[in-house]
Structure formats: structure tokens, C-alpha cells
């Protein structure tokens, strides 16, 4: 037996014309399957009519706020870790690139010579700076020299402190975004 369109009329609750209604009633007199479907749908629909909203346990918003804060901190940490990771990756990549360039353009003997040359040059430059600083200290009057040294060392310490604080904040909190 063909149950269409009766099944659709029963479960989709469409607005039926008088003819359609009579047609459905006639079909229901002879079709047990559609009668059962109609009874089933009426029961289901009745239960839907008595639907209830289930509320969360009290304190949902407070739990959300605590959760939100924890997630924000975790997100900032993840962001910081990502930043430091990519920074490190960049440095390593650049080093590999430079090393690769060196391997392709010169021999190991050349690198060793260049390395020793750079080291010697650095030692010589350091000695020059030391001589220059000694000269500056001797030329400047003692009072000015002490003041300068206090200022110089204070500035260096402050910059070091700022640098360390920035690194610490970056690694624990990440970059703040709104």
C-alpha cells in the first residue's frame, strides 16, 4: 500500500484542505501502519509540547569567569612559547643558511684562518678599547670621572634589568592583544 502523501501529512503537520482531510481519514480507516504512525507522532508531539529548559547548576557565570582567566593566561603562555620557538627557529635557520653559504664558497682551512683572524682582531680591538678608556679616565678630572662611571654603570644596569624583565614578561605572559 502506498503511504504517501499521508505520512507527510501526518508528521509534517501541514495545513490540509477539507478534501485532503477526508482523503486522510479514508486512508486511516484502512491502513493500520498509518494509524500507528499517527498515534506515535501525536504522542511524540505531546511530549515536545511539555518540553523543559534545563538550567546549569548555580554559579555557572562565576565558573566561566574563573575559566576565562585561566584560559587567557594559558593562551598568552602558548603565544609566548610560539614566539620564542619561531625566534629560535629563525636564528637556527639563518645560521644554517650562513654555514651552508660558507661551505659552498670556501674551504675549511679558510674558515679556520678567518676564525683565528677574527679572534685575534677581537683581542686587539678589546685592548684598543681598554687603552682608550684608560686615556679617557686619565684626561677627565677625577670628579667628572666618578660621576661618569656612576652614570654609565647605572645606565647599563638599568638596561640589563629592562631587558631581563621584558624577556621574563614575554615568556610568561606573551604579547598582550585586545
Amino acid at each position: 500500500m502506498n503511504h504517501q502523501p499521508f505520512e507527510t501529512w501526518i508528521v509534517d503537520q501541514i495545513v490540509m484542505s477539507a478534501d485532503q482531510r477526508s482523503e486522510l481519514e479514508a486512508h486511516l480507516l484502512v491502513c493500520q501502519q498509518c494509524i500507528r504512525l499517527q498515534h506515535g507522532w501525536q504522542s511524540v508531539n505531546r511530549q515536545f509540547g511539555a518540553r523543559q529548559m534545563v538550567a546549569p547548576t548555580p554559579g555557572f557565570t562565576q565558573r566561566f569567569m574563573v575559566n576565562l582567566e585561566q584560559r587567557r593566561v594559558e593562551e598568552q603562555r602558548t603565544q609566548a612559547r610560539k614566539f620564542l620557538f619561531f625566534l629560535l627557529l629563525g636564528i637556527i635557520g639563518l645560521s644554517v643558511l650562513l654555514a651552508g653559504g660558507l661551505v659552498l664558497t670556501s674551504s675549511p682551512a679558510d674558515w679556520l684562518a678567518a676564525l683565528l683572524g677574527s679572534f685575534t682582531q677581537a683581542v686587539v680591538s678589546l685592548a684598543r678599547v681598554e687603552r682608550w678608556l684608560n686615556l679617557v679616565v686619565q684626561i677627565l678630572p677625577p670628579a667628572v670621572s666618578i660621576g661618569f662611571w656612576i652614570l654609565f654603570t647605572s645606565t647599563l644596569s638599568l638596561m640589563g634589568l629592562v631587558w631581563m624583565t621584558s624577556l621574563w614578561r614575554l615568556s610568561t605572559q606573551g604579547a598582550q592583544t585586545k
Binding site: 515536545f48 538550567a55 546549569p56
Partner: protein, 199 residues
Amino acid sequence: LVVDTLEITWLLQAKQGDNEAFTRLVEQYQTPVYNLCYRMLSSVEEAEDAAQETFWRAYRSLNKYDVQRSFITWLLSIAAHYCIDQYRRRKVPVVDMDMFAEETLPDPSPTPEKEAGRLEEQRFLHRLVAGLPAQDRAAVIMRYWYDFSDEEIARALSLTVSAVKSRLHRTRLRLAQMWQSSQPEIVDPERTEYESPAF
């Protein structure tokens, strides 16, 4: 579920980073969001987690939200997508029957038999809904608990309107058939209360 001026003010404030305004929105919409998650996942613990996750996702995506759209539809769309993913991930469906008993309204003049029968019918419907495929379940919940139109359901579940119509039809048919075949003694309205099933 009407978007009022106060809600738009909260939304605009929240979009500018005002956590207090977002808290008000959470307060306002916690029940509909939680209810959808609970109907989808059938577990109190999972519903709580899913509702919390929904609000967190909404908080993070707030700058993408268009205030011209209904906020509740947007929120429920996030919740539904999350619950569908969660439901597909787990292998064994969970049905928390105790909660179904607590949520039902007390009958004003109950006889013990009537009350027991009513509760049993409620539980049975929830079992049937819990057995539906995730997307069909979401469509049914949106229609019957939130009175969403086909268009709203389609938008929320990223489906076409015709797909929603067809899913709802298929699901109603399935629910009616399952109800009738599994509980004939409860649901036959032709039979009187004390009549034997043999007649």
C-alpha cells in the same frame, strides 16, 4: 529571544573588551546554551564543559560577530557545532536518566500512576532523541526547544533549507515509528486507561 537595546549595548561593550558586559551576556544566555548542550550530549558534566567552551569560543570570536544578527542564534550555532563534534568523537552514547527525571514539571493533580507514566514517557522521548544522529538531533532540538524556523536552523547548522526540511521530516517519521513500535502500551490513544491490550 528578542534582541533588545540593552543586549546590543552589552554586545558592543563586550566587543570592545569589556569583560563585565560579556559576563552579563553569559548570565543572560547560560540556560539556553546549557540546555542545548545537555540535550545534545545527555550528560550533566559534558553539557557544563560544552556550555563553558561555547562561551569561550564566543568570547574569542566576538569581533567577527555581526550585531545585526541574532546573538542567541549565533551562540546556539557555536554550541551545536561543538556538540556535534563531541558526539561524533565519542563511541558510546551517554544518557543521564536521573537528570531527565529532575527536569520535568510536577503535575498539579498527579496520581502516582499518572505521574509515573508521564515521567516514563518523558524519559522515553529523551532516549529516542538521544539515539538520533548528531545533526538530526540538533535540528530537532532547535525546532522544538527554541522554535527556530527552517531558515534559522539551516543558518545555525550550515545546511540548506531543503536539507533541514528533509532531515526534520525523516526524524519526525523515525521518532513516531520508534515511539509506536517500542511503547504500544503507553501511547495508543484509542485505548482507555484500564482496557486490556487484547481488545
